[in-house]
C-alpha cells in the first residue's frame, strides 16, 4: 500500500499566482468607476466623468489576463481538478459583468453629460455581477475544503 500523497488545491502555481495578483485590480477599478459615475451624475463636474472613463478603461485592460486564466481553468477540463458548478457560475457572472463594462467604456467616450444615466446603470450592473461572483468564489472555497477533509 502506498501512502496517500497530499493533493494540491491548484493546477498551476504560476497561473494561480498571476490570477490572484491581477484579479482584484479590475474589481476595485470598477467599484471606483461606479463611485465616480454617481458623483458626476450629481455634481455635473466633468472631472468625475473623465476620471470614470480612465477607471473603466484601465479596469478592462487589467481584466484581460485573469479572465483568460479563468477561461482556461473553467472550460479546459482536467481529470485531477474537476471544475465545480460554482466555478462555472462565477465564470458567467464575471463574463456578463465584463461585457457590461465594455459597453460602459464605449458610453464613457460620449461628451459631457451624454454619459448619464447609462454610465451609472452599467456600472451598477458590472459591480453587482462581479460582487456576486466574489461571493460565489468564497462559497466555492468552503466546499473544496470539505472535499479535502473527506
Amino acid at each position: 500500500m502506498t501512502p496517500a500523497t497530499p493533493l494540491p488545491t491548484y493546477r498551476s502555481r504560476f497561473a494561480t499566482a498571476i490570477f490572484d495578483l491581477l484579479n482584484p485590480v479590475p474589481y476595485g477599478l470598477f467599484v471606483g468607476t461606479l463611485i465616480f459615475d454617481v458623483v458626476y451624475a450629481i455634481t455635473r463636474n466633468v472631472f468625475w466623468g473623465k476620471g470614470a472613463a480612465w477607471l473603466v478603461t484601465t479596469g478592462l485592460l487589467f481584466a484581460i489576463i485573469p479572465r483568460l486564466i479563468n477561461l482556461c481553468h473553467v472550460w479546459i477540463p482536467s481529470r485531477r481538478y474537476p471544475v465545480t458548478r460554482l466555478e462555472r457560475v462565477e465564470f458567467w457572472l464575471n463574463l456578463f459583468g465584463i461585457a457590461a463594462a465594455i459597453l460602459n467604456a464605449f458610453v464613457h467616450t460620449r461628451d459631457a453629460y451624454a454619459i448619464v444615466p447609462l454610465n451609472v446603470i452599467l456600472s451598477i450592473i458590472t459591480v453587482a455581477l462581479l460582487s456576486i461572483g466574489q461571493i460565489v468564489h468564497a462559497l466555492d472555497k468552503f466546499r473544496i475544503r470539505e472535499v479535502i477533509r473527506d
Binding site: 466633468v46 465545480t84 459597453l103
Partner: protein, 441 residues
C-alpha cells in the same frame, strides 16, 4: 458535473457580436447638405452612440499634376506647393498673397482615453501635419510665365490664422495674441518682431484658429474665437470668452464680447451690400450624422447663438451641464444652415468680376470636410448665392474632387479663401499642402 452548455455559449457570442456592432456601426445620414440648407433646416432628434460614428478617408495627397475639379467655365491652377499645412490666405493691395502655414499648437492635454484614439485618426487623414508657424508670401513673376515665387514673409509665429492689413500695419492673429507688424508695400520679408496688441483666449486651444477681420474704418478688429470643447466636456470655466466674436479696439487693445454662443466662428467677412458682419461656424458633433448643421450667419451685436446649451434657437443640448434656461431663452437661431459636418473653415464674399456672373454677389465657403458621418460631407468649396444681403439658395459645389469617388482616399481639403487682385478665387489646401487659384476659363 455538467458539460458546458453550447446554446448558452452561442447566445453569448451573438450578444457580444451585437454589442460590437452597436459600438462600431455608422448610421447612414438621411440628408445631404443641400437638403439641410436654409433658414429653417430639418433637425432630426438627438442620438447618442456607443462610440462616435466615424468615416475618415486615408491620406494620399496630390500626385502627377492632379488638381481639384471645377465646373465648365472655370479653370484651376496650382500656384504653390510643398507648403506646411497652409491654412489661411490673405491678399495684399499689391497683389501679393500671404499664406499662413499653421496647425494646432497641440497644447490640449490628453484627459480622456478617447483623445488617444482620436489623435491616431486625425493622423490617418493627413490633418495632423505640423504647421510651419510662419506666413509665406506668394508673388506672381513679372515675366508673364504665370509662375509664382514663394518667400518666407514672417517666421516664428505661434499657430497664426487671421491676417488683416490696416494702413501700414499688418495684424496677425496667433492662437494666443494679436500681433502688429509694420508693413511697407512690396516688402517680401518682415524681420521685426510683432508687437502684441491684445492677448486672446489661450487655454487648451481645442479650437485653435483665431479668425480676424478689420472694420472698414480701420478702428476695430473682430476676432472669431472657437470653443474649448465639443459641447462643454472640458468644463465650462475653460469656455470663458470662448465660442464668441470679440471686438478689439485697435487704438487701445481693449476688447469686449461682440456676440456669443457661436461654437467655432472660423471665418468673418463684411457682406458687401449691407455692410453687416457675417460668419461661418462649425456646430457640435456626436449627436448624429444630420446634427447639428453648420451655418452661415449675420453676427448681431450682443446676440447669443446658443452654444453650448442649445442649437438653432431653443433646441436644448442636455450634454452641457448645469443647464442654463435663462441663456437658452435668449438664444437666436443662425440665418442659414449649410449642411451637417461640412466643417466650413473659409468664407469669402466675392466682389470681383473675373468669375462668371453666376458666382458674383454671393459667398464662397471652404468646407474642410466631415470625419464623423457617412457619407462624407463637405470637402469642397461651395458657393451660396445672395440676394439683398441674404442667402438666396443652397450651397452649390464649385471646387470639388478633394476626395476620391469611393470616399476612401483624400487628396486635399480646402480651408481659407481669398480673392486676388484679378478677381480670381484663392483656395488654401492644408491637406494637399498647396494653394489653388480658380479663374474664368
Amino acid at each position: 458535473m455538467t458539460k458546458p452548455n453550447p446554446p448558452v455559449l452561442k447566445r453569448f457570442a451573438v450578444a457580444a457580436a451585437c454589442a460590437a456592432m452597436l459600438g462600431g456601426c455608422n448610421p447612414h445620414a438621411q440628408y445631404d447638405a443641400s437638403h439641410q440648407a436654409g433658414s429653417n433646416p430639418p433637425l432630426p432628434s438627438l442620438r447618442y452612440f456607443f462610440s462616435p460614428p466615424m468615416q475618415v478617408p486615408t491620406y494620399v495627397g496630390w500626385h502627377n499634376g492632379d488638381t481639384p475639379k471645377v465646373p465648365d467655365g472655370l479653370k484651376i491652377e496650382k500656384i504653390a506647393s510643398g507648403l506646411h499645412h497652409p491654412r489661411q490666405v490673405y491678399v495684399l493691395p499689391n497683389g501679393d498673397i500671404l499664406v499662413a502655414e499653421s496647425n494646432s499648437p497641440n497644447e490640449e492635454p490628453v484627459t480622456t482615453p478617447k483623445q488617444v484614439i482620436a489623435g491616431l485618426i486625425t493622423h490617418k487623414a493627413g490633418k495632423a501635419a505640423k504647421g510651419a508657424n510662419r506666413i509665406t508670401l506668394l508673388r506672381r513673376r513679372g515675366d508673364g510665365s504665370g509662375e509664382w515665387d514663394k518667400t518666407v514673409f514672417i517666421d516664428h509665429l505661434h499657430s497664426p490664422f487671421g491676417m488683416q492689413l490696416v494702413g501700414n500695419t499688418l495684424y496677425v492673429a496667433d492662437t494666443d495674441a494679436i500681433l502688429a507688424f509694420p508693413y511697407q508695400t512690396g516688402e517680401t520679408r518682415i524681420t521685426t518682431r510683432g508687437v502684441e496688441l491684445a492677448d486672446l483666449p489661450n487655454t487648451i486651444n481645442h479650437h485653435w484658429t483665431k479668425s480676424l477681420l478689420a472694420s472698414p474704418d480701420g478702428k476695430k478688429l473682430f476676432v472669431g474665437v472657437g470653443s474649448n470643447s465639443n459641447v462643454g466636456e472640458n468644463g465650462l470655466d475653460v469656455e470663458y470668452r470662448r465660442a464668441d466674436v470679440l471686438e478689439v479696439d485697435i487704438a487701445t487693445g481693449g476688447s469686449r464680447i461682440y456676440a456669443a454662443g457661436i461654437r467655432n466662428p472660423t471665418g468673418l467677412q463684411w457682406e458687401p451690400k449691407t455692410g453687416q458682419l457675417w460668419a461661418i461656424a462649425n456646430e457640435r458633433d456626436e449627436v448624429g450624422p444630420d446634427l447639428v448643421p453648420d451655418y452661415l450667419t449675420s453676427v448681431k451685436e450682443g446676440a447669443f447663438y446658443g452654444w453650448p446649451y442649445s442649437y438653432y434657437g431653443q433646441h436644448v443640448d442636455r450634454r452641457a451641464q448645469p443647464q442654463r434656461p435663462d441663456l437658452v431663452a435668449k438664444a437666436i437661431p443662425p440665418d442659414y444652415a449649410i449642411g451637417s459636418h461640412v466643417a466650413p473653415l473659409g468664407l469669402l464674399f466675392y466682389t470681383g468680376n473675373n468669375l462668371p456672373a453666376q458666382y458674383q454677389g454671393g459667398a464662397f465657403i471652404g468646407e474642410h470636410g466631415s470625419w464623423d458621418r457617412t457619407p462624407l460631407s463637405g470637402y469642397m468649396v461651395a458657393y451660396v448665392p445672395f440676394q439683398d444681403g441674404k442667402p438666396s439658395g443652397p450651397p452649390q459645389p464649385v471646387v470639388t474632387g478633394f476626395v476620391s469617388a469611393d470616399q476612401k482616399h483624400i487628396y486635399g481639403a480646402p480651408v481659407g479663401l481669398a480673392q486676388d487682385r484679378d478677381g480670381a478665387l484663392i483656395v488654401a489646401d492644408d491637406v494637399g499642402n498647396a494653394v489653388w487659384r480658380v479663374t474664368k476659363e
